[in-house]
Symmetry: C2
Subunit: 195 residues, 2 copies
């Protein structure tokens, strides 16, 4: 059985083990990456802990704990160089975003992250809600309600709490222009006590 | 069709809508909670945002950002009263736990949280690794390796970074004794830049 070179590479990267051993393990596991990992562990070659990838990604992890310690946010924001990551401007941005998330509790980073299933279900509800309205108005109503949904639940589409004339995305873009690097909110977690 | 009173209660709690409407929605949805929620929304009674439960749970959300802003931890720690949650002792505990998680990156809170599937897979690997050893020794070897697995990946079973003579659980229990309240690490999130 031939083993895909990409798979060998992936197994190498996640274990740090040599090509020949990785290839043999993949053959034994019929090309299944997870099984091959276990084959290597059974042979005592790999450890349970995956090596963290050495992806070239800069930025910072920021947190915001709301007064009273009942709400907390953790956020990862990426940029292109550590130089930019260390600027006060970037750190302010990270703090602002964390504070914004604490206040608004978004469900998604961007409207692109909302699954088709969720969108379909929302549309179904909106079309039910707009029953009886003239046919030509319904599409518009549904689109409008969907945009409202995005601006309620998607971080980038939300109105920025520190300036209600712009969205979080527009705030981000203003920083991109200033700092001259691509900036991305990669992930966030928001805890509310007992939530 | 009869509707379970528990379901009606749940729907009430998550929507804040009256009993009769909740019951009618559940009947229309054949007792499916999520569908009933959508029925209420179609009728314009409920909003997309679930109400946060008003569970009586005290404690705090704490964070720890490692020097250099490349690792961050968010943790929720519960106790029984807000009085204890506001003590310096409790706040120190929360900070210590967050710092510990940043340093050791556990995968689970407790060994009780490790799924049977994972344990079975680990056991399989250990038994393969101990092939050729005398029969009576193998069970002991496997148990020993499993304990080692727990102490590597489970927060409560890990050795506490600030005192390597006790586990995190023992540290927690010492605080329970001091503060006189049950204390629980409820959840945590650990971000590593680019991880």
């Amino acid at each position: 059985m031939g083993i895909n070179a990409d798979l060998v590479k992936k197994l190498r990267e996640s274990t740090g083990i040599g090509i020949m051993d990785c290839k043999a393990a993949l053959i034994e596991a019929d090309g299944d990456l997870e099984k091959a990992m276990n084959v290597l562990r059974k042979k005592g070659l790999a450890s349970a802990k995956k090596r963290t990838g050495r992806k070239a990604m800069e930025g910072m992890i920021a947190s915001y704990i709301h007064h009273g310690d009942k709400i907390g946010v953790l956020v990862e924001i990426n940029c292109e160089t550590d130089f930019v990551a260390r600027t006060d401007e970037f750190k302010d941005l990270a703090r602002d975003v964390a504070m914004h998330i604490a206040a608004t509790s978004p469900s998604y980073i961007s409207k692109e992250d909302v699954s088709c299933d969720v969108i379909e279900k929302e549309k179904e509800i909106y079309s039910e809600q707009s029953k009886g309205k003239p046919e030509h108005a319904i599409t518009k109503i549904i689109d409008g309600k969907l945009e409202k949904f995005f601006s309620q639940f998607c971080l980038l589409q939300q109105t920025f709490i520190k300036d209600n004339k712009i969205s979080v995305n527009e705030y981000l873009m203003s920083k991109v222009a200033k700092l001259g690097e691509n900036i991305k909110i990669r992930r966030f977690t928001r805890y509310q006590l007992g939530g």
